[in-house]
Subunit: 443 residues, 2 copies
């Protein structure tokens, strides 16, 4: 095992991980698969938009002004045009407008050749096949030239753009049915610990004797199989959900026993298949904590083993070539904190996504329960209040499997006294869960 045992701040650790990290590749996909993906190259418009000159309104397309017909006609005064056609949206204009002629036209319809201007219906007066047109109001432009919104050859989207609804709409308007985006980074997810079993679980409890300490089973528990001395591999499901949301393609490696050779072998293979390896458990400093040794055995060079924060203090990071190995804590909420603050930036950078979880100030609606001797991240719920963002720390619970339930944010709390209600703290927003998100009803 490597000698490195350096302790870093979160920011230093993140910098080490992200140094030189680049998207892992690019792939051509169909427009229908594009939402949420990241452009790997700029988009250049293959054609202009609108592709033809069109009307912005229901009204009349007018040719050159009529010569000598500027006399009053039936009470209305203005220029008199003769109506020679009607052009509906989606139809080809059958005429060319000469001087003194007009065509009734509808919003979005292609303008006939010879169109000089367009006037909205309510500003003109129609009498049979004549249209009487007053002076046009200044500045009113009711026609759009071809290419007035996008010129062919223009760069309309930059590499790195996330394709949301508006960007998808633009691509469709330009007729782009294939787009080159960054490849989804492949994240191999393993959980280490001989106490872990895969769902739906192992049959058979511990032989002999009653179940020490209870193992209370409710009436509905018949569906749950006996686990013996083991627990379900829950970290995999939690991290798979998080990594998928950050754009990763998740490759499951399954739970691994506390056996060094087995882990080294598994991690070697993982580095062939994946761009990044995330493990949970075995990140502590005891003789049964094998992660650092297994990372080294699989060819990794240790970057750090400790980050100065709670929870998530023990995080093993290693690099092998352009692949990263990250050993997160085995405790579920600690694993998630380390995921959000250290692994998510890596996965997002590999996918060409924006990287840093930015912090911003929010006002505490309840006091922090106790001072912390070290920088701490506290599960919380944040929401936009009328006067600004507010944040409530979640109630503390024994153990931790429920610590992060209902959270959408982490409070980034420096070492020192516990701030009280009404004081400002900094928060990291973890998801777009908004103000309506209710805390779970826990009786």
């Amino acid at each position: 095992m490597a000698e490195v045992n350096a302790s870093f701040s979160l920011e230093e650790g993140r910098e080490l991980l992200l140094a030189g990290l680049k998207p892992t590749g690019r792939v051509k996909i169909k427009l229908a698969e594009a939402p949420g993906r990241i452009l790997a190259e700029p988009v250049v418009a293959p054609r202009s938009f609108p592709p033809f000159p069109r009307s912005r309104v229901d009204g009349y397309a007018l040719g050159l002004p009529p010569a000598g017909r500027e006399v009053p006609a039936g009470g209305a005064s203005g220029k008199i045009y003769r109506l020679v056609a009607t052009v509906a949206a989606g139809s080809c204009p059958a005429v060319t407008l000469g001087p003194g002629t007009a065509a009734a036209i509808f919003t979005g319809a292609r303008l006939p050749e010879g169109t000089m201007t367009v006037i909205p219906r309510e500003l003109a007066e129609r009498q049979g096949d004549l249209v009487i047109v007053p002076e046009l109001p200044p500045g009113g432009s009711f026609m759009e030239a071809a290419g007035s919104e996008v010129a062919a050859g223009e760069r309309v989207l930059a590499a790195g753009t996330e394709l949301g609804p508006a960007e998808i709409g633009l691509l469709a308007a330009l007729g782009l049915t294939e787009i080159t985006v960054y490849r989804s980074p492949r994240a191999v997810l393993a959980s280490s610990g001989s106490e872990l079993v895969e769902l739906p679980g192992l049959r058979g409890g511990c032989p002999g004797g009653r179940q020490a300490g209870g193992e209370a089973i409710s009436p509905v528990a018949s569906q749950v199989q006996a686990l013996g001395p083991r627990i379900y591999n829950s970290n995999f499901y939690a991290l798979a959900a998080a990594a998928s949301r950050d754009g990763a393609r998740v490759i499951p490696l399954g739970p691994l026993a506390d056996e060094l050779e087995e882990q080294v072998e598994a991690y070697r293979k993982a580095l062939e298949e994946g761009d990044v390896l995330l493990t949970t458990g075995g990140a502590g400093g005891s003789i049964r904590d094998l992660t650092a040794a297994a990372f080294t055995g699989a060819g990794g060079e240790i970057l750090f083993t400790t980050i100065r924060m709670r929870p998530g203090r023990r995080v093993i990071a290693a690099r092998r070539g352009d692949k990263l190995l990250l050993g997160l804590p085995g405790n579920p909420p600690a694993a998630l904190v380390a995921y959000y603050l250290l692994a998510a930036p890596v996965i997002r950078a590999l996918g060409g996504r924006e990287v840093l979880p930015a912090t911003f100030p929010a006002v505490l609606t309840a006091a922090i329960d106790k001072p912390r001797p070290e920088r701490a991240f506290i599960w919380a719920r944040a929401w936009p209040g009328t006067t600004g963002w507010q944040v409530a720390p979640l109630p503390r619970r024994p153990g931790g499997i429920r610590a992060a339930i209902g959270a959408n944010a982490l409070i980034d709390l420096p070492a020192g006294p516990a701030p009280g209600a009404g004081e400002e703290v900094r928060v990291v927003l973890l998801s777009a869960r908004g103000s309506q998100y209710g805390l779970p009803d826990n009786k």
Copy 2:
């Protein structure tokens, strides 16, 4: 067509739409499909967690104190226990601890029967098969009872909870492989307008003559087929991306011509297949704006036709039984504004999701370009700054196909003078796009 032509504020319109709206149903899904879904019923723990008493640390499980062996032993002082077993995580303890006996134990391992307490390795001294244990520090509890985190039968998640990574992890830890969530609402998406064609487009331009006004084609445009007087149905792709993100299952209805009977027939069918119908185009007040008439023809009762805001002023809303029909503007950014502010709440409510896009204050980094005579929503980019949220209005562009590119927020601007840089405005956050999101490079 109905006589109703009432104009409402955004909030009034939204209230009309949401009145009595309920999730459309529930469905049982596998855990792997659960991320991002919404619980349709509370989750009751089928078993306790941890399922067996376990150690929080690497150390020693101790039986009852030894009788008469509290003498100093080799320099160390304390109680002397005899080591009778080693229990690794995941293994069944082979012993029952009697008075004065101990077992070496590892984090997460099941405690032997008879365990009274656990002491971390670093607090004890081992001499061969003896363990010398000093007075335990007060308050230190290094063992977890079965059920100490979750008791069997306890309600751990409320109906309406969004299943994020932490909640998924909890379900996995409890061995729940099937979960009942709200059914995804079915959103039928249609675009009306005879000028629309489906991608990849129609062959053949307008016959005869040169292409009026240009139709500039770039060197790469050979892949784009001629559209004649038509444009691509881009609103469908934009709205499909947005509605999917809000949890809808999208049913495409394709572009519809400006023909009342065709639309009535299509919308009737849509209401059989979908929970909500979204259309774009035809929402204005001219004779070719058929949406209101088509909604009425399809059995809808008009709720409103105008919302006092820009853009998105013309929005047709109708109800037929428990189905809603929403006619959004045809202009792409206006359609998106109306989607986010009126349609998204409907889709989210039908899926049991949190509903209201909450607004919060942010400081303008650039002035709003001009005063607005009416409440306006302005495409913007918001990010959490060191001192709080900041927001920049996006540059205005001709037309609108690019108006929303790069936006992650809307500024909710009341009628009146244009606020300057440094002034506070209210924003609606539309996505979790964070501070690192770069504006597209448009030369």
